[in-house]
Symmetry: C2
Subunit: 318 residues, 2 copies
């Protein structure tokens, strides 16, 4: 092969995905390895190397590879370090970009995982040609990427865009990972939906619900979705409540940066209108009139993993 390509890596709390990306933005090959089974980051890099290097060879070899772009939790674009990521086993400051650059002998750049997804959305997804938008990933946690004037907002020290940790219910639900109370992530994540389900079932013991047929350990956002689709009242209320919290938060974000659109990613978006309708309602209700009925609320067109790999690979050209 003669064509040049780039590598995109998306380091997640559980799984890390990586792919070979063509210069047209197509993922030519991809694979994944577990992240957290390697307590030592160098073992992780060794396994990554063993998996990825044959893919690079297959695609044309190192000489045709323009470089490696990575997205990772708390990844800092200025330093190339992962810094104090609460969801990773590697504690403290991990100079992962330089470690990978050394191992692969390829130029390597790092950014925050959510920012990588936003970049993928801007280059290949529904935010093409938008100069101001925000992506929100509703997965196990809540991630976010903010685009201002066509560029990822990284801020003074590279950590801008931690919207999942903004407080929307002061003194509210405890977020176990951070010890903070009332953050968006404590509610509008898969974990949060599960907690809301447990709370509501306990607060309204007199209400019947299909959810009561499940063991607590089996109460997931999928379970709640399936019950809601069968007309279960509590399950519907759970999505109404989740949408309210999310909508109020989105209103605050809109009054900060006045985006053209908010793009929602991640597992929770599978709930579709069940989540979107209350989110939109509470978002509009909490906006000043000058912002109302203007901001698009979209679901991503890209697969979440694809967006992250594509976005990370785009770092190489940035």
């Amino acid at each position: 092969m003669e064509k040049v390509f780039t590598v995109g890596i998306d380091v997640g709390g559980t799984t890390s995905k990586f792919g070979i990306v063509s210069s047209e933005g197509k993922i030519l090959a991809q694979d994944r390895i577990p992240t957290n089974k390697h307590e030592d980051v160098s073992e992780f890099i060794d396994e990554l190397y063993n998996m990825l290097m044959p893919m690079i060879e297959e695609a044309g070899g190192s000489a045709a590879c323009r470089g490696i772009g990575m997205g990772a939790p708390n990844g800092n674009i200025y330093t190339g370090n992962i810094e104090f990521a609460p969801n990773l086993v590697w504690k403290g400051i991990i100079p992962i970009a330089s470690l990978i650059q050394k191992k692969f002998e390829l130029p390597t750049r790092l950014t925050n995982d959510a920012n990588a997804a936003a970049m993928g959305e801007m280059m290949y997804g529904c935010a093409r040609q938008m100069k101001h938008f925000i992506t929100i990933t509703l997965g196990t946690g809540v991630g976010s990427g903010i685009v201002v004037d066509g560029k990822i907002l990284v801020g003074h020290d590279g950590f801008a865009g931690e919207l999942g940790h903004t407080i929307i219910r002061p003194g509210g639900r405890l977020h176990k990972g951070t010890g903070m109370r009332g953050s968006l992530e404590a509610y509008a994540s898969a974990t949060g939906v599960r907690e809301t389900a447990i709370e509501m079932l306990s607060v309204y013991p007199e209400l019947t619900s299909l959810l009561r047929d499940y063991a607590i350990k089996d109460l997931t956002s999928e379970t709640v979705f399936n019950c809601a689709m069968q007309g279960d009242t509590i399950a519907n209320d759970i999505f109404e409540f989740t949408g309210q919290i999310l909508g109020e938060s989105l209103a605050n974000f809109i009054m900060f940066s006045s985006p053209e659109a908010i793009v929602l990613f991640g597992g929770l978006t599978k709930a579709g209108d069940l989540l979107l309708k209350p989110t939109r309602k509470h978002m509009e209700a909490n906006l000043l009139p000058i912002f109302q009925n203007k901001v698009k609320l979209l679901f991503s067109e890209l697969k979440e993993a694809d967006a992250a790999i594509l976005g990370a690979s785009a770092l190489v050209n940035a």
Copy 2:
């Protein structure tokens, strides 16, 4: 006189201030007129013309004037219009930049009043050389200007940076101007401090307080400050509570844009450490560790009116 100069105008809800600004950023002359006594905007412009034109002549005449920059509530930099400003008597959409340009026969540019103040702070105040900062004006209301990568953040439609209207106590205190509940402005403004005082005096009827010696109509943020300085417990609690709300909001803003500093302006900042200490405490307590003890919390070095006039005048060169 041969030197060129610009004109800066700061349109406020009560008073509009304007000045002649030298190319070195000095205010050579300034004056003010009431804003809201003119229900018709053309009468306002007539009075402004009658006051300002002699100052322009004195400074060297229209030929030496590079143009007029204005800051106004809900001023839109893209359109030159004031759009639906709740605190002005002029309702709907007011094409004020084009009206003034026609009257004065000088190029005229408009922006949001808070953005003008932020620009003044960036060019002439304590945010010189900063690329990422946020200004918060704690006056009758709460205004804000956000600087990202050395530029005022205006967003997709020109209205970014309405941080005073973000919700920090969902379902909380009614904001009469907007009908919204629990916004930052409902608490951390002079009006909000007065409301907190009335609430606390009524909630704790058994507690003695110097504030009880004042008629309700005379309860102002200044009264509360004076009583707090005399050691009054309720007065101190009012600032503690105000600082808590402000600090929680600032933490959210920091996790959005990761600024180097937050610059506080406006009447409430006269309370000094009474406000600053609880604000800083609650700000730090609500930040993720990666943001803690990094962001400067500063009081503006500029007089508020000067910052707005200087910042507005800087629009001419932008």
